[in-house]
């Protein structure tokens, strides 16, 4: 059989597909971060914790109220997004006029608190969350066994990503948001309620994280640290894509998933660092990331 660098092409397809699925998570998470950073200039370090909350709230809904996965997919982002709105109103809104590093410090503190509270309540090992019945099992694609759930992850995240992109880049609302990032005072002087816009945006970014969390619950360990280590990779994705570029973070998310997948085949030990190598190269060649606008 024809082989590519010692790997049968069939296996390679499988790996690429898996990479794409992983990329879906990167894309969803980095999208939320990009929205929050690009529009509020806040480096939302609590993003990982909010993703984790998404998974946990889904678990709680199921175990305490019997709410199933599908409803969770809808309700959890709303609930966690509302939580984000409260956080924004009470805490983050006090920091906009400061260097955005202070936002980082605050959200880092929030992440610690959220993670700590969940850890105290639910321990660290994690909680079980089953794949919804409709999506159990999988398809034999010939070259690999594709669990139905993974297919669904791709579809769901693609849809959400594109919808978000459209909303921010192509609608008036998005223009308000982008303008408000640059000069909130002036946008306010045009008669736009900037604080409310900002609050909703933060809530939306958090809701995206929570949505990713619900998607992740059935396949990744639902534990309080699940977002903590992911966050740094997701930052890398946002930066490679070009800070503030919504489309950039989506494409980069999927793209890096693919590249990481390939690394896992050819040099698995390096798959943790490959993203950073790429980031270094990209930034040295393209100063503002792949899709970023130069100032």
């Amino acid at each position: 059989m024809f082989e590519l660098l010692g790997i049968p092409p069939q296996a390679l397809f499988g790996q690429l597909l898996l990479g794409l699925i992983n990329g879906s998570f990167y894309a969803l998470l980095s999208l939320g971060l990009a929205v929050i950073f690009g529009l509020l200039n806040i480096i939302n370090f609590a993003h990982g914790a909010q993703y984790m909350m998404g998974a946990f709230v889904a678990w709680m809904l199921l175990n305490y109220l019997g709410v199933n996965y599908w409803w969770a997919l809808l309700l959890v982002p709303i609930a966690v997004g509302l939580f984000g709105i409260v956080i924004e109103r009470l805490l983050i809104s006090r920091l906009y006029h400061l260097d955005h590093l202070y936002g980082l410090l605050l959200t880092f503190g929030l992440a610690l608190i959220i993670q700590g509270l969940f850890r105290n309540q639910y321990g660290i090992s994690g909680l079980p969350y089953q794949i919804p019945q409709q999506l159990a099992g999988g398809q034999n694609l010939g070259f690999m066994f594709l669990p139905n759930y993974r297919g669904w992850v791709i579809v769901a995240s693609l849809v959400v990503c594109l919808a978000t992109w459209f909303m921010i880049e192509k609608t008036k609302l998005g223009a308000y948001l982008r303008a408000a990032t640059e000069n909130p005072t002036l946008v306010g002087a045009f008669g736009i309620n900037v604080p409310r816009l900002v609050t909703l945006t933060y809530g939306f970014g958090v809701a995206l994280a929570a949505f990713a969390g619900v998607l992740a619950a059935p396949i990744y360990s639902v534990n309080p640290n699940m977002g903590a280590d992911l966050i740094i990779v997701v930052f890398a994705v946002v930066v490679i894509g070009g800070m503030g570029s919504i489309l950039g973070s989506i494409i980069t998310g999927f793209g890096l998933g693919l590249i990481e997948g390939l690394t896992r085949v050819f040099y698995p030990e390096g798959s943790a660092v490959v993203i950073f190598v790429i980031m270094a190269i990209v930034l040295l060649v393209k100063p503002a990331g792949l899709f970023g606008r130069t100032a």
Partner: protein, 248 residues
């Protein structure tokens, strides 16, 4: 009192109440007290200018009217409504448009998006076509990034975008700064036309000749106060006094 006399003088002789009436307006940047009781009136359909040296407080006055000074007190009546307690966005919704001196073009928005950004607060603004007629440069560069425009083009864009909103009181901070003489003349004509259409305009100007060519009345600002009022028709007579104020 001298102040009362001044107010007497600044109130136009017209019968109806002024569109904008400012009394004892004070404003601070943090600790530093910049406006010390500005007072003047503008009637509907008038063009007035604020003249004064650098740092006199002209820009600050506009910002205080617009509600984007964090700390201010006194009274700003617009169309019979007290606005001193309102946030900037509510003031804008009453129909006041602001064009800042540093232009405030958004770099993450295209020229078109910049132009379309301010929401319409009232019918009766200029149409996009009329705007392009006024500033043909903008039409050609619609899809470029806002801050990639030349300095003067940015100035045009900044004015253009509030003309669209239908605001009936326009606060223009040095709208001719950095513009080619042809464009300055064009803006002068635009201001006259806006005036005819019933817009009310408060203009901050350094270009005294330009100011004289469009305005009904000039208020001289010094150290955060309006210290004199000169109707445009009396400007020739008062030219020496004015030169003294402006230190020419």
């Amino acid at each position: 009192m001298a102040k009362a006399a001044l107010l007497e003088k600044t109130t136009p002789h017209g019968a109806h109440a002024p569109l904008l009436a400012i009394r004892d307006l004070q404003a601070w940047y943090g600790e530093s007290h910049v406006l010390h009781g500005v007072a003047f009136d503008v009637s509907e359909g008038e063009v007035v200018t604020l003249l004064g040296r650098n740092g006199a407080g002209k820009t600050t006055t506009l910002k205080a009217i617009m509600g984007i000074m964090t700390k201010r007190s006194g009274s700003v009546m617009f169309d019979g409504r007290e606005t001193i307690e309102l946030p900037a966005r509510r003031i804008a919704r009453l129909g006041i448009g602001f064009c800042p001196e540093e232009r405030g073009i958004f770099s993450s928005l295209s020229v078109e998006e910049n132009l379309m950004l301010p929401p319409q607060v009232r019918p009766g603004g200029l149409s996009v076509e009329q705007i392009f007629e006024l500033f043909p440069n903008l039409r050609e560069r619609l899809s470029s990034q806002g801050t990639k425009l030349s300095g003067g083009e940015q100035q045009m864009l900044a004015i253009a975008r509030i003309l669209r909103t239908g605001a009936r009181l326009l606060l223009l901070d040095e709208p001719t700064e950095g513009l080619a003489p042809v464009i300055v003349q064009q803006i002068g004509r635009t201001i006259m036309r806006l005036k005819q259409e019933g817009f009310t305009i408060v203009l901050v100007e350094q270009n005294f000749r330009f100011a004289a060519s469009v305005a009904d009345r000039h208020y001289v600002v010094e150290q955060g106060r309006v210290i004199d009022t000169i109707p445009n028709e009396e400007i020739e007579r008062n030219i020496n006094k004015l030169h003294a104020y402006l230190g020419v």
